[in-house]
Amino acid sequence: MKYTIITLLAFFCMTTTMVAQEGTDQYEIQVDGLGCPFCAYGLEKKFKEFDGIKNVAIEIETGDFTFTLPSEANLSMEAVEAQVVKAGYTPITTKITRADGTIESSETTTMIADNATLTDKNISVAGKCEMCKARIEKAAKGIPGVAEAVWSVEEKTLMVSYDANNVTPQTIEKAVAGVGHDTQNVKALASTYENLPACCKYERLEQ
């Protein structure tokens, strides 16, 4: 009889644990290249405002930020991204795996026509760090017709590969300036520049 009770109790504990694990949502956010531990820990600190947050992990080099929350929190994609912005950073992609297996994702795919002929161009873009890199590349890749965008921290140059029938270099420069980075022909608004994280405050370019 004793063994039966112990077995039942053990089964009950296991079931409770499993339910508790199942009752959590998994959040995976790629933040625009957290450059240093001060930035990374700061982001984490701002998310502590959410009750029940657990399993927080931050990869500083890649900007991968993951955590879990109890399902009842039901934190939306918009709320997560707003909190990242509140902490002073830019979310690149967000993926939420709900407890019931449902996946929500903000990832978008690049739209390029199959028969498109791609043109390569280097554009001077001001910036300083890995966070700048992530932000600049995201802005450029977000334009329909841009197949590739790679910004060099050392060279301060954005290499873009784009469909010249659908997009112009001017469009790309405007998009990049729109997120706070001066380009060779387009200057970012002072207010946008001022809102960049501290470590991204580069020396302004003269157009």
Partner: protein, 284 residues
Amino acid sequence: MKKSIFAALTVLMFFSCKEHPKSWQLSQMLEIEGVNPIGITHRADGIWLSDGDHHRIVRIDENGEITETIDSLDRPMHIATNGDELLIPQYGNDEVLRWKENVVKIIAISDSLDAPAGVWRDGKETVIADFYHHRILYSEDGVDWKSFGSEGTENGQFNYPTDVQLLGDEIWVADAYNNRVQVFDKSGTFLKKFGEAEKMNASTGIYVSKEQLFVTDFENNRVLIYDHEGVLQQELSENIEKPTDMILVDGKLYVANYKNNRVNIYDWKEDLNPKKSKNKEVNN
């Protein structure tokens, strides 16, 4: 003939005996397995490192082996010592601990902190870098506090201060994202600044000796060394990756590297291959 040979030997001896200028030269690199050091300090029992990624501080021996761990901390940053007491600023929960053989005191500040990144305590005199508030807190007696600084780029303003040190009548501050070091008197009056000419990118850590200022240029993977007048004396970059803090112990310079799990050790000795002197920075 004899005289000529004697004269030649004398000249040769003069040049061979001529002293070379001294500089910091890398002598040893300690691999600290599993530790991403941010702060470094020294107590009588050895070198201590803060390992914010793993919520702990560790003591290491001369081979880099961990000999003691204090864990369950919340993102400890630029640690310091005051006698046999360890000072631990916890970025994650806004507390600064005074730790002495398992007796832990929390430095009480009525005006709450937001991410204390650095602390220094000398006797009862204490100074704290309050990261998100862009200010420095100073107390002469450890009880009554005054603060100075605000967010900005002007002299006396800060852009996320990360490290502090008391030296004599001065407070030295790593003004990290203004990419400079600022110096104040104890009333918070701005005195001078360093480093803007060197185009630092995140001056996250400082150590000030009686003669020199050491600054970590985090993103540029280098340590800059100035005299107290702001003249750049040396730049260390060999085997430095994301440096965060430094300390002098028994005449040796220790540099903590966040990225490569290393502490580099430098000796102050004659430089047989001196490089050209660096730029001069004008203060004030």
